[in-house]
């Protein structure tokens, strides 16, 4: 279960031209929740605050205001416990190139406080599911982007997390690899996990997400099933919703 109530997050950046500090509100009063057995799609244009929201949920950043609970743990007061039940994946995450997937997953099993034989078994099962079992003992520095992303998926799911946070998981992946990731997300939902995904790929949202939230300029617009979101705004598809938001009709 993920719960966000009036969450705010901003950054201070320096304007290179004026040399003055500038405040950017990345997330402004976002409130939504994701239940177990549900895939929540977080949409929005670049810079809308999607990654920041997911990083807040994953415990990589701290909210300035509001309440954020993951698996019943307060993300601010109990960050380690909250992180322990999250599997986080982002498109810009990488793997340790000098390691083989077996060594890499073993190491992360230790980081997640898993027993060695449990981690080994789970790594084996995940790699088999992702079609990389033959590469278990090959150094990852020569892996393709898709292969590395698959290993990252295995790393994120290794400790059997109750909450799965995937930030643009199919970016840069070919159709086949993207399909493997999407199939896996469906399986995770079927297993009763709480899944939240951010993406730009509309067909993916229509395909797998149970509910959708659109972030625009740090504000969440709509938090409903896709059909309801479209009918509420009188739009035929998500692209139209985007254009409406961009035109300030929200």
């Amino acid at each position: 279960m993920i719960e966000l109530v009036d969450v705010h997050k901003g950054f201070t950046v320096r304007d290179r031209k004026t040399r003055r500090k500038k405040r950017i509100e990345a997330v402004r009063g976002v409130t939504f929740s994701v239940c177990p057995g549900e895939i929540y799609g977080l949409l929005g244009p670049n810079g809308a605050g999607k990654s920041t929201t997911l990083r807040l949920i994953a415990g990589l950043m701290q909210a300035e205001r509001g309440r954020l609970r993951v698996c019943g743990f307060d993300a601010e007061r109990e960050p380690e416990q909250a992180r322990a039940c999250i599997g986080y994946l982002s498109g810009d995450l990488n793997v340790y190139g000098r390691f083989t997937p077996r060594e890499f997953l073993k190491l992360f099993g230790q980081f997640q406080d898993m027993e060695a034989h449990v981690a080994e078994g789970r790594a084996q099962a995940l790699m088999e599911r992702l079609g990389l079992l033959d590469f278990m003992d090959v150094r990852m520095e020569g892996f393709s982007t898709g292969q590395k992303q698959k290993v990252s998926v295995a790393r994120a799911l290794l400790h059997d997390p109750g909450v799965v946070v995937f930030d643009e998981p199919t970016t840069g992946l070919d159709v086949l690899t993207a399909k493997t990731v999407l199939d896996l997300l469906r399986e995770l939902r079927a297993e009763g996990r709480t899944v939240i995904v951010s993406t730009h790929v509309m067909p993916m949202v229509e395909d797998i997400c149970d509910r959708v939230g659109i972030l625009f300029d740090g504000i969440l617009h709509g938090d409903a099933p896709l059909e309801q979101l479209l009918s509420d705004r009188g739009a035929r598809n998500l692209d139209e919703v985007f254009f409406q938001l961009a035109a300030g009709e929200a």
Partner: protein, 397 residues
């Protein structure tokens, strides 16, 4: 602490996968120093043997023929050559001869009249062979002068001991070990500091800014490991590599020098044990631990703040320059007498080590150096832990 050890283990595992880096960090010094030092020692020995075994080529201008028989009597030391073509200075520089000896024409007459005559030796003492020729000439002349004086005394019917009212006999009371200790103490802190800093710098950059750059730091931060344990793990790694690198380099260098110049004032394993007791070595090591931690903290802190490896490298470099300058400063003779030195961080470690090796250890100064370095290391650990906890350390905005 389990998390910190795991992160440290991960760093070492990653390092172990890079055979070239392992080779250059830990194995090359073991091979390089013995090879280099053996080569230098071999060359200098060969050169010395060659020089000693060869007669010095001397141009003798001796109209009275006073010196010629003396030099000809020692063919293994002198070879009389004919005047070289061109400039004499050039001939010596080009090593066509080693020295020109000019005896004044009236020398035999002056000797007979019991007057002093002049012998002029033109040589270049900066050239080893030329210097050797001069010392050979001095030896021959000293012996001959003594004979001439004895002859004069005999003619005068005076005591043969007239020219030597006293004789100086010296008994060496100095402790060679102490002398070596002082020399060692002067440059050991410099070497230790430099090797510890330089040895850990690249590893620190790789483990911090490098990890950020490669996109693997977020994976690590997204685990259940508390952040302070992640930074402690990285610190432990950088510190261990620095210390190991310094110890390996020093041992390799020391043992190689000892092996190459047996019996000299060099640092050999055996002589090191003689001059530096386990207590001295232990106390030195004890000082190096917080100093290494201090360096590791600085490197990790700069590495974490940097956006990429290049930025990390350029921001750490001034720190290295400061350490180098301090280390060089600490080698200056008489520096230990400065009263404020025990209160200057890093320099006080140098001073304490110098005094330990010269058996002038001062418990108060040692205590201050240890406490100050420990305090600074602890403060920097606290600061670097706080820095990693800042989001700006991880996410570049």
């Amino acid at each position: 602490m389990r998390g910190a050890l795991l992160v440290c283990k991960k760093e070492f595992l990653e390092l172990s996968k890079d055979r070239r880096t392992v080779f250059f960090t830990f194995l090359l010094p073991i091979i390089l120093y013995p090879l280099l030092i053996a080569m230098v020692a071999g060359l200098s020995r060969t050169d010395e043997v060659k020089r000693q075994g060869r007669a010095s080529r001397v141009l003798l201008v001796d109209p009275g023929g006073l010196l010629e028989p003396l030099l000809r009597a020692e063919p293994e030391s002198f070879e009389l050559v004919s005047p070289p073509a061109g400039d004499l200075r050039r001939a010596i520089r080009d090593q066509r001869l080693e020295m020109r000896i000019q005896v004044e024409p009236e020398a035999p007459l002056k000797l007979k009249r019991q007057q002093t005559f002049t012998i002029t030796a033109a040589c270049d003492p900066s050239e080893d062979a030329s210097g050797l020729a001069l010392s050979r000439l001095k030896r021959v002349l000293e012996k001959q002068n003594h004979r001439w004086v004895q002859e004069r005394l005999r003619q005068a019917g005076a005591s043969l001991e007239l020219d030597a009212p006293s004789r100086l006999e010296t008994l060496e009371m100095g402790d060679l070990g102490l002398k070596v200790g002082r020399t060692l103490g002067a440059f050991l802190p410099y070497l230790l500091m430099l090797m510890m800093f330089a040895g850990s710098m690249q590893h620190g950059i790789y483990a911090t800014a490098g990890e950020k750059e490669r996109g693997t730091l977020l994976s690590l931060l997204s685990t259940r490991l508390p952040r302070h344990q992640i930074i402690w793990g990285k610190l432990l790694y950088v510190f261990s590599v620095g210390l190991m690198s310094a110890i390996i380099n020093l041992l390799s260098m020391g043992l190689s020098i000892g092996g190459a110049f047996k019996g000299g004032v060099a640092v050999s394993g055996g002589s090191l044990a003689d001059l530096a007791s386990p207590a001295v070595l232990g106390l030195t090591f004890l000082l190096m631990v917080p100093l290494g931690l201090l360096f590791a903290n600085f490197i990790v802190m700069m590495g974490i703040r940097a956006r990429n490896s290049m930025e990390a490298g350029t921001s750490i470099m001034p720190g290295m320059v400061v350490v180098m300058v301090m280390a060089v400063f600490s080698m200056a003779p008489g520096i230990e007498k400065m009263p404020f030195l025990p209160y200057v961080p890093i320099l006080n470690v140098s001073l304490a080590v110098r005094k330990l090796f010269s058996q002038q250890g001062n418990a108060f100064e040692y205590g201050i150096a240890l406490a100050m370095t420990l305090g600074l290391a602890a403060a920097l650990t606290w600061l670097s832990t706080r820095l990693l906890n800042r989001e700006t350390a991880v996410f570049t905005l």
